[in-house]
Symmetry: C2
Subunit: 405 residues, 2 copies
């Protein structure tokens, strides 16, 4: 079952003094979403490898140092034995006993600094800030209640997303898996082209390029010409992709046997987590009068008269649910620290953001219990065509159906 | 015949003292290439309007002030009478008598400065730098021999291109006139995509956008998929466009009834003068051993191992003419002042340059009697397919046939 080569797994070395809760921690995250694939007793390293699937990062392997860390200080002998762990670790995970920093934690931190390995600090919540405790600065710990799996998972994922090397946040293809080599994707772009004169907007360019990189072609047309262009083909295209704002027309013009979706949904997958966004879209139906909705618009473009984030999505949401809603808009890299007042977050396509930032927002929302979706899914839901435009993505469609059944 | 509305003509007010040669000047440039369309006697302005076609700028109208400038100074009364000329002029053309600056020239320059109208200075060559003459700085005159039409025209055009407002250098459409509304252009891009990951190079993006702006579609594919994509269509595309480096394969794969050309040739028209570039390409066949060729590469990109300007074009040129050639490469905005040693200049597509700069280079080459062409035309000529890829452009093809017959 362990199909991913080890070098493609994120190697997380787990350190912590005896009784800090390493076993509880690992057992807790090895819950229903996270399956321990196999355990291999370390023969030469005194380290036990515990491979897991830890979405959205994917395959990880915990290097459990239970066998070598049962001391309060990391002596010279122990440094030799852990040297090989530091050589293999992409990330160090250091479990703290509350706010206490002993010679053990200091040694691990120093060694990690020498090797330039990022350290994730997790502290048992109970003792984190005892009255009179010395501030642990500069080490910042993410505290979590070890009795709550959600708390542990959310803290871990949020920190891992922040520190893990870029290649472990590698996204799925933008469109490459939706077109066959030699196949064709129809790209339908707005008549009121928003890009500056002579240009196309980034999602369109990226999609054309990704198709070419996968030996496929794209036919780029405006929505008015789309049906006509379909009639020029003597074979079905593999997929049709449109700007979210014309999703109703695309669905109407696309024969049922041709999969179709939107640029924004392609980017939901590329930059975020389409399954979670699909479940978040279902939460739109549960909104109640006066609920607050957070809209996160990453482009800091000048607000247009009929701005998609500030005007159109709030209007479509209100029309769809038939009740009034409060809407806050955060632009650029702004994102609220306190999410508890929101019943829904709607993230833009994120074409100008990196995957790390969008994934981090998703984890923050999840930790706060706030459903999060993206522009494309939100628009498709309010237009009543979300299942149709999720059809190219069976896992996301299944997740959506599961929460709406 | 005067079909262009006057407001779209470049208005050039012609000033100069009596006997400086205004009439000779106008008569000279109104030669075979430049037709005086009509003359209208000024009734209220004392100005005669002389519309002409002055390529590459296009329609211009000279405001001939012969009736009001027959004095050595521009007195108060005269300023009133010429005020309306200054209100209408896009450019002032001031003819100088050698290096002499009298109160008349000073008045014209001052008035032009007040109105923020650019001034083109042309001086009769004969007296330009008489021994002991005072330097005319800061006024720089372009000197020309009034007995030589080529000299006058080249000097005038070079200066007009430099100073005229942007809108008078408006290019033809990139591809919009080669596709019908609802039509389709095939775009064939290299398998070794040169653009950074996730991007397309500017000529491709601009072409897709221009087709959309003209209600047409583009089918973007790699050269390996091109024939297959043609077979997926049940109607002919309007045109096929390829990267210059695969022009032979495109011509081989394109049925004769489908017009085809290259991105570089589209840009030769957009940024330069396709007719002149076509005539310049014909000069390749007249190169002789040891001739020097100037290659002007506008992108200051890092030279690749098999760089198109530095390696491939020199190699293809030498292979085609079967003799050795000396090749100089100028990059970025560099362009030699002394062109006389060159037998041919080859300009890149110029997608990063403005039209003013490329047109200016063409005029400099023409003034120096150096044929100039561009990368796309040069490559097509050395591959033996130039007539085929000029077929969408009848005027350029006719000019090429005229000089090669």
């Amino acid at each position: 079952m362990q199909k991913t080569p080890k070098s493609l797994r994120l190697h997380i070395a787990l350190f912590g003094r005896t009784n800090v809760g390493k076993s509880s921690f690992l057992n807790l995250i090895a819950g229903q979403d996270v399956s321990i694939v196999s355990e291999q007793a370390g023969t030469t390293t005194d380290v036990v490898e515990k491979p897991m699937e830890l979405l959205p990062i994917g395959p990880v392997v915990f290097l459990d140092t239970a066998g070598i860390d049962d001391a309060t200080a990391l002596g010279e002998k122990r440094i030799d034995r852990t040297g090989r762990v530091f050589d293999r670790a992409d990330v160090i995970l250091l479990l703290h006993e509350g706010s206490e920093i002993t010679a053990f934690e200091t040694s691990v931190i120093k060694k990690a600094e020498e090797k330039e390995i990022p350290v994730v600090h997790i502290a048992n919540k109970v003792d984190l800030f005892p009255v009179g405790a010395t501030c642990m600065s500069p080490v910042q710990c993410n505290s979590c209640d070890f009795s709550s799996r959600d708390s542990v998972l959310a803290a871990l994922k949020a920190e891992l997303i922040n520190v893990c090397p870029d290649e472990f946040l590698t996204p799925p293809p933008l469109i490459g898996d939706l077109v066959k080599p030699g196949g064709l994707a129809m790209l339908i772009v707005p008549i009121d082209l928003q890009a500056p004169k002579g240009r196309l907007i980034l999602p369109q360019v990226s999609t054309i390029r990704d198709a070419l990189d996968h030996d496929a072609a794209t036919l780029v047309c405006k929505e008015r010409e789309y049906a006509h262009m379909l009639s020029m083909l003597n074979r079905k295209p593999d997929v049709a992709i449109c700007d979210s704002q014309m999703v109703l027309k695309m669905v109407a013009d696309t024969p049922p046997e041709i999969p179709c979706t939107t640029f924004s949904i392609l980017f939901a997958r590329l930059k975020g987590d389409l399954r979670k966004f699909a479940m978040g879209a279902a939460a739109i139906d549960r909104l109640e009068p006066g609920d607050k909705v957070l809209i996160a618009e990453s482009c800091s473009h000048h607000a247009l008269e009929d701005d998609i984030g500030r005007v159109k999505i709030p209007r479509w949401l209100r029309q769809y649910v038939g009740i009034d809603l409060e809407v806050d808009v955060y632009a650029g890299h702004d994102f609220p620290d306190n999410l508890s007042e929101y019943k829904l977050a709607v993230q833009c396509g994120g074409c100008m953001q990196n995957r790390r930032e969008v994934l981090s927002r998703i984890e923050k929302c999840e930790a706060a219990g706030v459903p999060i979706t993206n522009y494309g899914l939100c628009i498709a839901q309010t237009q009543g065509v979300l299942r149709r435009v999720l059809s190219p993505f069976p896992a996301a469609l299944a997740a959506y159906d599961e929460v709406t059944k």
